[in-house]
Symmetry: none
DNA sequence: TATGAATGAGCGTTCATTCAT
DNA sequence: AATGAATGAACGCTCATTCAT
């Protein structure tokens, strides 16, 4: 029997004050991201999220309708972070090489600032719970990359090849690199980053 | 509490007849692979594995000691398949370009013959249940690639760069490509494969 | 849906040859007694009984309709053993003291020859699965004791007191003694037996 | 696999308010005692304990880590009750006969106030799940009886015989009596009690 | 006749979610 | 608004029993 009084879910917008979320909301998202990246969505009990966030188990449900809503919020927030780094301040007038560098550095910054976010997106890529808004964010990033590649190809600065193929190779190569550095204890050194950048660029250049 | 009487687990070797496993053993492994790839290890209930395999829930435990033993068997079998395709018949005397082609074609064959296996390995790479034998298989593949790259570098046929970085970029790029083709409905066409092969080789060549 | 062909259950009588049961029947009963005494009826899986008896799991069901039928057979056999030792060769013409000695020695013989049987009866006394035939055996032993006590009281050789009270005190005392010796590593020495016999007699004598 | 987050188990001490446990804690212990006495530890499913206690199945695990922890709590509580009745207010300066009476009356009180507890201890005496604290309680009672007997023997008020033998005979006799009264519908009447007390004393007196 | 692979109901236990406080 | 005790469906797994061989 559904309850017949209205449960007032704190909407994310309402909870914001001057653009940032309430402390608890924030703590829950951070705890969930950590744990989902570490042990998988299905492998993470909600009470553990609550414990890590330092809130009561019931409190999570004041901010998120369900576990699935929580993981989607985590997903969105990671994608949003990534999107911001990749799509903002794109040097539209620059050469393809410079645009690629912008993309590459943006990805590095994301993986460095938010390693759990990186792992989370990687391992939860295919999940069925990704909702419309999450999908939209992903599409934006892809569309941005697509346009960049097409324009560069039109200018003859990037190899002729299906843009999506090139994009997936480049994203994949970057992902492979980060996963490798994460397995070892060495971090992502500047040298590794710029060497790899040059290697990956070789896939794109004409 | 584990059962007190001896459960005669069909060992893979014993259960074989002329080199292939009993029908049920096979069906369980196949069902588990499908489901783990589709919905994650933690997201897959054993009863669902049983149903998909067309056996009773209890039957799985005549073949696998536990869920963890099952996922390891799946892991091993996938890695073994991959290892066979990558490490057998390596053209040791050939040029680096030809060796790379062998590797690339092997990976394509693996991803085509066993797409769930590919996804499973991808998404369960970091899991804690990977036992010693599974790890060994992974190490073999990595060591094989490492040697190939080093030798080719010594001959001046591959760029000077940390071999592991190159390997992770190449594996990553391939993975990115396959994941992209899997998301769309188009399969891995011969054209895509050979175009991408050439692109990825550009990362390696001097 | 019940099977519509007759399952021919080997009746205990049919299975006998010259008064003793088939080897398998025997092995199953012995294994069950051991295990039920050691780990309780409910704590003993049928497959473990089968393993201990050296027969297939299905074989037990050719001799016993169910686990409950098996435990009843075990119960009956133990009670029958006890009954034989207590009720046969009772020195009806002897003094109460000598009759008591006969009873005491019979109990000692039972506990010594068949310690698992003793423990089994002790720990499974109150169980609901005791069927009519089992109950009958128990009643016989009690009735025998009852008569003995009443007659002895009539002759003034045993204290006036509710016979059943005396009987339960005596049985209980014996049981307490045997359980104590079983807990320690010392067996039931002749000295302990005869000292205790004298002590217990003191409860009965006028 | 035990849960990864901290389950705040209500410790017996914490859960107490003015010396008695929370209502649910109490209800679970009582239900478990009843059922274990009636149908054995192994024969009692946890869901049945929950139902009898009037709580949800999961609720038990907020109070007890596992079924084994529950049975130990039941065991301890029964032993503690018995210990209190037997070891407190022992008339140390009195005659052996009066000390025996104190013990006898204590046992009667225990069996009357807590008949399920009596049966439970009887039938679960030898079980492997008895933990250190449970064992300690049992040892205290035994040691108390031992000392009493030895001192009385030294004063010539109790027969010379191995104290443990006497103790096991006396405990056993009492147990036999109670089991008998429980099988019939008659309770433990004052007459039966005092008659039996006198009979049992005859085993001890010089 | 004897087997043991197979089954599924039911076990002990966990955890997403609710709701009285 | 926040809590955490309480819940019961569902988990991983066991085992009494069946039945094809």
């Amino acid at each position: 029997m559904p309850s017949d009084y209205t449960i007032k879910l704190r909407s994310p917008v309402k909870a914001e004050t001057n653009g940032h979320l309430s402390e608890k909301h924030e703590a829950i998202l951070a705890a969930a991201l950590d744990l989902f990246a570490e042990r998988t969505y299905d492998g993470t009990p909600m009470p553990l999220v609550a414990e890590r966030a330092g809130v009561g188990a019931g409190t999570i449900y004041r901010y998120f309708r369900s576990k699935e809503a929580l993981v989607n919020a985590v997903y969105r927030r990671c994608m949003e972070h990534q999107r911001r780094l990749l799509l903002e301040d794109v040097p539209v007038e620059a050469t393809a090489r410079e645009q690629f560098r912008h993309w590459w550095r943006g990805m590095c910054q994301f993986a460095t600032e938010n390693p759990q976010g990186f792992v989370f997106l990687e391992t939860h890529h295919h999940e069925s719970y990704r909702d419309a808004e999450s999908q939209e964010l992903l599409d934006q990033v892809r569309a941005g990359a697509h346009t960049l590649v097409e324009n560069a190809q039109a200018r003859g600065e990037v190899r002729q090849a299906t843009p999506d193929v090139l994009i997936s190779l480049v994203f994949g190569a970057f992902t492979g690199l980060v996963k490798w550095t994460m397995e070892g204890d060495c971090g992502l050194t500047e040298e590794t980053i710029s060497d790899a950048e040059e290697r990956v660029w070789q896939m794109l250049r004409p």
